[in-house]
């Protein structure tokens, strides 16, 4: 192949790449065209929701034919993305504050702000940890040299973990041993990969993660993890589909899934039990 021909081939390959990009002009929030049916919803969800929402999303798709795409992260990070113009249809936060933050920035319909669940936190350790911590104060023990929590700067579950450590009066003792995950599932990953000895994470994730054990932290030891959501979609058909998804969360089937992952929904009784085998929700 001559030099010129080689360059021509490279250019041709690049052109194909550009051509493949050409069919991407459709905007998810385009209100000018009125397609009768939404085929895909985009939901921003706090990381603690991943296992439960993936099940609810799959069920929703089966029932309505609408596919649900999730983007998971810490509530603070997702709120920031919404404020910056991310095209989500629903924002399901792990706190009320971040929903208020989004509403204050002019995104979302205040009438759709709803508390959909209350979360709990647990102390998670891997299967092979002998004498796992039974209460938060046990973390004072020097064998737990690295303790993972979600970044309290933008993750509600990290804030709750910090409050629980302060309630047990061990925060100052363990402060130097804390490592921050980007979000609550990142904090758990630090422990499942063996890089942290223990993680204070959402009950929902403890129930979804095999090869571990957990102790439930009493709800009174931290501010309630009141999880609120808001619908962001503005086009009427997208908004309707979003509200259908929101209704799915508190439908009887949705409730069953949420409670299997340890969430208490408004109207539910406080669950009992204090510890368990990790992965029990799977």
């Amino acid at each position: 192949m001559t030099g010129k021909a080689r360059i021509a081939v490279v250019v041709a390959i690049l052109m194909i790449g550009v051509a493949a990009c050409g069919n991407d002009s459709s905007s998810p929030n385009d209100a000018s065209k009125p397609p009768p049916k939404i085929t895909e919803l985009l939901v921003a969800g706090a990381s603690d929701l991943r296992p439960a929402f993936e099940e609810i999303g799959a069920r929703f798709t089966k029932v309505t034919g609408t596919h649900v795409t999730f983007s998971f992260g810490s509530s603070g990070q997702l709120a920031q993305q919404v404020t910056n113009g991310a095209p989500f249809d629903v924002f399901a936060s792990a706190s009320v504050d971040h929903v208020d933050q989004v509403l204050a920035s002019g995104h979302g319909d205040p009438k759709t702000k709803t508390t959909y669940a209350f979360g709990r936190i647990t102390i998670w350790t891997s299967d092979d940890t002998e004498n796992p911590p039974k209460r938060v104060s046990d973390l004072r023990d020097a064998r737990f040299s690295t303790i993972a929590i979600a970044n309290p700067g933008h993750a509600p579950y990290g804030v709750a973990a910090g409050q629980a450590l302060k309630t047990a009066d061990v925060y100052d003792a363990v402060e130097d041993r804390l490592v921050y995950g980007e979000n609550v599932s990142d904090a758990l990953r630090l422990a499942t990969s063996g890089n942290a000895d223990v993680a204070i994470v959402a009950l929902s994730l403890s129930l979804a993660t095999p090869d571990g054990q957990y102790t439930l932290i009493p709800a009174k030891d931290h501010e309630p993890l009141e999880q609120a959501l808001v619908v962001l979609a503005t086009a009427s058909n997208r908004k309707a589909a979003s509200q259908e998804f929101v209704a799915e969360i508190s439908s009887p089937a949705g409730r069953r899934i949420m409670s299997r992952y340890g969430f208490r929904l408004p109207g539910d009784k406080e669950p009992t039990g204090t510890s368990g085998i990790s992965g029990g929700g799977v």
Binding site: G17, A20, T69, F72, P87, E182, T192
Partner: protein
């Protein structure tokens, strides 16, 4: 073929970014190698910034400059109906800027290594400057230019920090392969992370083989 998988999304984003970086980068490299103008050093330094700047800093500035509250962001949205940020366009812009300095710097070195006597000979034969560039300088520098483009492609494909800030982590829309590795790791899906990482590693090795081939002494 499902075009919205992380693999194809990455292919589309990085090829588009490479094309943009190649056009701007080779043009800029020519200007820097042959031109003598005020502010040339500053221009090269600015264009090279993405190599030394943390990707998060690039992401921060892109959000400031292209975000929905910025002049550019608003203008774009009023014309095209959707924002730049959190779309594939945002991902392409981030990847293009990240790739640009690799094309530019490698390309400049390649253009400067062309024997000026050959260019002089072409001029003496009566070729205008533009024809000298097309017929002599660029063809002689093609190996170095292609090495730069290949490096730029690799950088565009691997772009993570700025992309995740500007385009987010939206499956099917902006979740490119490096972001999918991160997402799979966070989800505890190690098998998926390993598979995606292996593909990225394979492409990286292939690109380096290409670069080495092109970087060998000019023919």
């Amino acid at each position: 073929v499902n075009w919205s998988t992380p693999f194809w999304l990455s292919v589309r984003v990085s090829l588009t970014a490479t094309l943009i970086a190649a056009v701007v980068g080779i043009g800029g490299a020519y200007l820097l190698a042959k031109g003598r103008f005020w502010g040339r050093g500053l221009l090269e330094a600015m264009a090279s910034l993405p190599i030394v700047m943390p990707p998060t800093v690039l992401g921060y500035y892109l959000l400031v400059v292209l975000g929905t509250n910025s002049v550019i962001g608003r203008t774009w949205e009023s014309i095209f109906g959707s924002p730049i940020v959190f779309t594939v366009t945002g991902a392409v812009i981030a990847a293009s800027i990240a790739a640009l300095p690799f094309v530019l710097r490698t390309g400049r070195a390649a253009l400067e290594s062309v024997d000026p006597q050959l260019e002089q000979a072409a001029r003496a034969a009566g070729l205008p400057e533009r024809r000298v560039a097309w017929k002599v300088t660029l063809p002689l520098a093609r190996r170095g230019l292609l090495a730069g483009v290949a490096l730029g492609f690799a950088r565009a494909l691997g772009e993570f920090g700025a992309t995740v800030m500007v385009a987010g982590n939206i499956p099917g829309r902006t979740q490119t392969m490096p972001i999918a590795v991160y997402d799979a790791t966070q989800a505890g899906n190690d098998e998926r992370a390993a598979r995606l990482a292996l593909v990225l590693m394979g492409i990286a090795v292939a690109v380096l083989l290409v670069v080495n081939r092109f970087s060998r002494a000019a023919p």
